[in-house]
Amino acid sequence: MTKLTYFPGCSAHGTSEEFDSTLKLVMKSLDVEMEELPDWNCCGATSAHVMTENLALALPLRNLVLAEKLSNKTMGIACASCYSRMKSTKVEMDNHPELAKRINSTIIEEGEYQGSVDVKSMLQFFYEDFGTEAIAEKVTYPLQGLKIACYYGCLLTRPKAITQFDSPEYPMSMDNIVESLGATATPFDFKTECCGASFSISDTEIVLSLSGTILEMAKESGAHLIAVACPLCQSNLDMRQPDIEKKNGTKYDMPVMYITQLMALAFGYPVQDLKPSKHIVPIEQALSHIGEEIETPEVKKKPKKAVQAESEVE
């Protein structure tokens, strides 16, 4: 059994409750014990680093220091923003001892930062610590027929120097996981475009415009639904969808589901466990595609020899 420190983030106890609950189901199937970080605090995203330099590092640092007190090597983070703040702080602390000392002085009572705990997003944890084959083994209800546009957002793979995970321009980790669940990942060019993030509240116009393009391109790619791994992306794409539709004068009907919801479904949990009622855009219609025949009967020929892969004999 793998053990993992779990950092849910503020939204897991709020807007993204279904992320949190399905994550727990998936982890159970994967035989991972999640230990929630005791007394965690908000990572400060995005306001802390917008407004101040020190708090932007101090808030995540407190969580990192708390995590070091547990015996687990890795801290898995559900929210992409939290992940980004936490990982950047870790990189800054590891590389700038002078700065580390200064920031550490804000949380003397919690203790000194050691740098002993690794920080991973849940997507990264699934992909690196399990891999698509291990995930495929757990699948009891293949999502065959379901076409999914995988949307990563900004922070899961960017900046490359911080995340050190997948491609910042055209990542494939979630696509590969989705395929291992039996579904089809659609070629989606806007998988790392920004959804508008924290402007959700302060400047809704921007969110409507940016998220609108993403929905449009996902539709264009032929997807039945969008898979995400970030609560803010989910809420911008799902909750704001009616507004976007109104603004653009089109109907997208594009449910936005967490990757963990899809995994839970494929692992055999009933639809009810995904908390479908939480979705503004209903998911049932999209899920009804499961079981459909794949339209493109492109049989993949496995080349017997490298020679024939390149050349052909008349």
Binding site: M51, E193, S202
Partner: protein, 189 residues
């Protein structure tokens, strides 16, 4: 017209370079950041123009632009910049410099954005965590726009999207102290 040549030393450039650990002089104005940036069309000056303004030493003009307040830190630009400038970091630096000098752009939207962040930080200071409903409500009250997103509220509430209850970090005191020390640090830097 912008008058140049009166001041040889570009202190603004030096300050931004130091604060951001970047060299703005690396920028050769290719504009890749501009077409990458999801919000450049909302900005007074595009990231490319901001770089040139820093090069020209136009401090006031840069501070008065809304550009750095609209930066989402999505890091798409820095991933594509051929001269490897960490543009979000530069934006962040000029934002922090502007905050330190207490210069605010006139754009009302920036005022909203700033208010949002202040409320957010305030909430963390008080509870250690963020509560979205309270957050939205307070934002609407403080921006005197009580009915913004009100059409979403019943639906979202009904669907349990926005929780009402509060939970507090147990050692909220620690957070408060952190804020205080951090503020002091900010002043001494």
């Amino acid at each position: 017209m912008i008058a140049l040549g009166q001041q040889i030393e570009n202190k603004f450039l030096v300050a931004v370079n130091k604060k951001s650990s970047n060299n703005i002089l690396d920028c050769y104005q290719c504009g890749k950041c501009v077409s990458t940036c999801p919000v450049s069309s909302f900005m007074d000056f595009s990231p490319r123009e901001i770089m040139q303004m820093i090069k020209l030493g136009l401090k006031e003009e840069t501070y008065m632009a809304n550009s750095m307040w609209f930066c989402l830190t999505c890091a798409a630009c820095s991933g594509r910049c051929p001269r490897e400038i960490d543009i979000p970091r530069v934006m962040e630096s000029i934002r922090h410099l502007a905050i330190a000098e207490n210069i605010n752009p006139d754009d009302p939207r920036v005022k909203n954005i700033r208010k949002f962040h202040e409320i957010f930080l305030d909430m963390i200071k008080r509870y250690g965590r963020n509560y979205e409903l309270r957050m939205m409500a307070e934002f609407n009250i403080r921006t005197r726009n009580l009915f913004k997103d009100i059409h979403l509220a019943p639906k979202a509430l009904l669907k349990g999207k926005i929780p009402i209850g509060n939970e507090k970090v147990k050692s909220a005191k620690a957070i408060k102290r952190m804020f205080e020390i951090a503020e002091k640090l900010e002043k001494t830097q």
